[in-house]
Structure formats: structure tokens, C-alpha cells
């Protein structure tokens, strides 16, 4: 069995690997590295892992590895996009970590692009899912846990007779509810948390020892390593639960990016119009109608390259 190695030791081994990458056999760094190895059995164990990892990487044929890995990852993403909503009962299980794309395929609750869903969980808590979202429910004796694989959810917690804490895990960190309603969004890059009532506590994946508290009316973006400064929660942040997108003074490009989360296809815009400002409430059930409405209020027009690829341009622009 493998013994637990400290993250710090592994990080040091990785740093050694980087430093030694381009040094010759006679470099004084080599001697320093030998001393580091001699210092502690854990250092030698970590270095053995470096060598093991290197053997695996060396066994991969250079010419095809990158394209195969990238394409496999892209295929899994596509498969997730194509899925429709499935509702199944909760599942208990082992410790969780994010597994790029494969978990969405087997999640307890998931929605397709443009879809939405809601469910009352066994303790009475209410779960709402926004577009292209996937979660697992893990209710056990000690904890009520939700795993948000991707997308956005709205949670209204119910008091629990057994007093079990309520925790939402994302790949970037965990959020512990302190009797609340809140929103969590999580994707490849970062997670976003907005608190609607009471307060929650965040623990970043790589800084689990330092919880920070976020109160009602606040929003924060975070990654595994870092949380940004909290900001006021924008009005209408939870409007998607009513199938609306509510925006105030957004640049057109940001608006289209947000809209494209609900759209099976591509929405892009020319740089010339990207900075136009938009305010209003838009129905998410008909993206084409939203785009149509925009042309009535802004000096733009929408060109459909295909039904799934719309481009927004300046109104005067002639056809290519």
C-alpha cells in the first residue's frame, strides 16, 4: 500500500524536476538534489514517483499522444452536451474528485443545453438546475453533500432533523451552507458563488484549512487556489430559475457569451459591436427571438451562417 505523502513534499519534488531539467551532470544543483534526497525517506519516495511518472510519459508515442488525448477529452465533452435530463435517486459513495467529463455522463441529475430542472431532495431541500448542469446527491449519516460537476444550481436548504451539515462540492472548492439559499456555478476555469439568504462558508480545494464566510447579497469567484474579493450580488442573478436572463449595462459580447450557455450552437459577434451596452430581461426559452429583439433596439443585425451559428454584426455592414 502507498503511504500518504505530503502535498508540500510532492510540490518540492516537482520543483526539483523543473530545476534539474536543463542542468548537466556536473551542475552543483545535482549535489544539492542528492542532499535533499538524503534528508528524508519521504523525499526519496516522492522522487520515485517522479521517475514512475516519467516512465509512463516516456512510453507514450510522441506523435499521437497529444492529439489522441485532446480528441478523447473533446469527445467526452460532446457526449455530455448531447445528453438530456435524467432523474434518478441519490447515491452514496467514496471521496470525490473531478474526472474531466466522465462524471457528467453518469450524474444523478443533469440538464441538457437550454434545459432546466428542479427537485425536492429527501430532506426537503430544493435543488434547481440551470442549463447544461450535472450534480450528484450524496446524503449519508453524517453529511448532506451535493457534487456539482458543471453548470449552475440554486439551493434552498431545509433544516435537517438529524442536524447534518449541508455541503456543495465543486472542483474548485466546497461550500457549507449556514441555513441558506444560494447559487453556485462551476466550470473548467472557476466557480462562482452568490448568497441569497443568510450566509455560507467556502473552502478552496487547495486551502481547505482556511474557510471564508460570505453573507447574503454577496458574490465571489474562486478557483482551487484563490478567491477573489467579494462583490455585491447583481440583481437578477437567480432570474434563470424563472427562465429569464436579467442584465444591466452589459457589453454585448458578455451578453452573447451568457446567452450561448443556453444555446445549442455558436453565438459570436464582431469586435465593432462587442462593446454595445445592453440592459433588460430576456426569455431563455427562445434564443432566436431574443436575438431578433436585439436588432430592434441596437444598431446591429444577426446573420445566420447556419441555424446553429449566429453572428451579430453592425447593421450597415454589407454581405461578404
Amino acid at each position: 500500500m502507498s503511504t500518504q505523502l505530503d502535498r508540500a513534499v510532492l510540490e518540492a519534488a516537482a520543483a526539483w524536476y523543473v530545476d534539474l531539467r536543463d542542468t548537466g551532470a556536473e551542475d552543483p544543483l545535482r549535489e544539492a538534489h542528492r542532499q535533499w534526497l538524503a534528508q528524508h525517506p519521504a523525499h526519496r519516495q516522492a522522487w520515485a514517483r517522479v521517475e514512475k511518472l516519467q516512465r509512463t510519459l516516456d512510453a507514450a508515442p510522441r506523435a499521437i499522444t497529444r492529439s489522441t488525448l485532446d480528441s478523447a477529452r473533446a469527445t467526452r465533452r460532446q457526449a455530455i452536451k448531447a445528453l438530456s435530463l435524467v432523474l434518478v435517486a441519490g447515491v452514496a459513495g467514496a471521496a470525490w474528485r473531478y474526472r474531466g467529463g466522465v462524471d457528467e455522463l453518469t450524474a444523478d441529475y443533469r440538464t441538457a443545453i437550454g434545459g432546466s430542472a428542479q427537485a425536492t431532495l429527501s430532506d426537503g431541500s430544493l435543488l434547481r438546475l440551470d442549463t447544461a448542469s450535472a450534480v450528484d446527491i450524496r446524503y449519508g449519516d453524517q453529511l448532506r453533500e451535493i457534487l456539482l460537476h458543471s453548470g449552475e444550481i440554486h439551493i434552498t436548504t431545509a433544516p435537517d432533523a438529524a442536524g447534518r451539515p449541508f455541503i456543495v462540492h465543486t472542483r474548485h472548492g466546497s461550500i457549507r451552507a449556514l441555513g441558506t439559499a444560494f447559487l453556485v456555478r462551476s466550470d473548467d476555469r472557476q466557480a462562482r458563488l452568490g448568497v441569497l439568504r443568510h450566509a455560507v462558508e467556502i473552502r478552496l480545494a487547495e486551502r481547505p484549512g482556511q474557510p471564508t464566510r460570505l453573507d447574503a447579497g454577496q458574490q465571489v469567484h474562486f478557483t482551487r487556489w484563490r478567491a477573489e474579493t467579494p462583490q455585491p450580488l447583481p440583481a437578477g442573478a437567480d432570474a434563470w430559475t424563472r427562465r429569464l436572463l436579467v442584465v444591466s449595462d452589459w457589453p454585448l459580447r458578455q451578453f452573447l457569451d451568457e446567452l450561448s450557455r443556453y444555446h445549442r450552437g455558436r453565438l459570436s459577434c464582431d469586435d465593432a459591436v462587442a462593446g454595445l451596452r445592453i440592459s433588460g430581461a430576456f426569455h431563455l426559452d427562445d434564443i432566436h427571438a431574443v436575438l431578433g429583439n436585439l436588432t430592434a433596439t441596437l444598431p446591429i443585425r444577426v446573420r445566420y451562417l447556419t441555424r446553429y451559428w449566429a453572428r451579430v454584426e453592425a447593421a450597415g455592414k454589407s454581405d461578404i
Partner: protein
């Protein structure tokens, strides 16, 4: 200690009470009865191999968590195998690869895919550029238009993650 007969009996009970349910659980996720049957069998084989003692407190949660991992493995393996075949088909020179070599390559790719799974796009890409494409940090920093120090930071993050997962 339990006798073999007792533990056989426990296993048989587990199988007869939950096998049908597990097949249904898998079918609702896979949409294919045949695959669901196969994976349900594999799940019980895993349970046998674990030689657990005593009765399970929540057998269905236990079974479905094993089945879930098998399902994840299956999705991953299938996506890698398909991608590998496609990439081979698009090579400029046709290459003949023995089944043994092919098996080894797919296993290696699966392992790397697993190690890199929960990394963000940037550290993943930097790690692959350095370790697979053989680029220097300076080249990578130029391509991505970031500082060498940023490349180094992301690389160390990615490598630390791999070292955590690769095991001894």
C-alpha cells in the same frame, strides 16, 4: 472470522436481492440493456474480489458506487480507444501496430488521461507541451504569451497533481 459458507451465503443474498435493481440502475444511465448486464456482472465480480466481511449497511449505495466507477472507466477507455484509432487513421504514413503494442499504448494513454483529468485547461496544456511535445518553458511562454514564471508555476501545479495521483 466468517466461514466460507457464510460469506458465500451473504454474497448470494446480495446478488439475488439487488442484481435486478442494479441492472435497471445501469440501464437508466447507459440506455443499453446489454452493456448494463455486462457492467452489473462486472460489479458483482468486483464485490467478490474484495472479499468483504459481514453484511453491508447500505448495499445499493455500495453497489452503485462500484458500478459508477466501472461506467466511468468504460466511458474513458472507449473515448481513448476511438480517438487513438482516428488519429492513427489520419497519419500520413500507414503504420502497422501489433495488438500487444496497441494494448500497451492505450493503457499508457489511459493512465496519462486519468492523471490530467481534473487539471484546468492551462496547466494541462502546459504540462503536455513540456512533457510530450518537448517544448522548453521559454518556447511555451512565447506561444501562450505569458511569462516563463507563469509557465513554471502551472507546470509545477500540474506535475504535483500527477504525483499525487500516480501513487507509489
Amino acid at each position: 472470522m466468517q466461514t466460507d459458507t457464510e460469506s458465500n451465503q451473504l454474497f448470494e443474498n446480495l446478488y439475488s436481492e439487488h442484481h435486478h435493481w442494479l441492472k435497471g440502475w445501469l440501464k437508466s444511465r447507459l440506455g443499453c440493456g446489454e452493456q448494463a448486464s455486462d457492467l452489473a456482472q462486472d460489479t458483482f465480480i468486483k464485490v467478490l474480489a474484495q472479499r468483504r466481511e459481514g453484511e453491508l449497511r447500505s448495499p445499493r449505495a455500495f453497489l452503485s458506487s462500484i458500478a459508477r466507477n466501472l461506467m466511468v472507466d468504460m466511458f474513458r477507455r472507449r473515448s481513448i480507444e476511438q480517438a487513438y484509432l482516428e488519429v492513427l487513421a489520419h497519419q500520413p504514413e500507414p503504420v502497422a501496430i501489433s495488438p500487444e503494442t496497441r494494448y500497451d499504448i492505450v493503457e499508457t494513454l489511459l493512465e496519462i488521461d486519468r492523471l490530467l483529468d481534473d487539471l484546468g485547461e492551462r496547466p494541462r496544456s502546459i504540462f503536455l507541451m513540456a512533457q510530450i511535445d518537448g517544448l522548453s518553458f521559454v518556447d511555451i511562454s512565447r506561444r501562450l504569451n505569458v511569462s516563463v514564471n507563469t509557465v513554471r508555476k502551472h507546470f509545477i501545479r500540474a506535475m504535483t497533481r500527477c504525483l499525487l495521483l500516480v501513487g507509489d
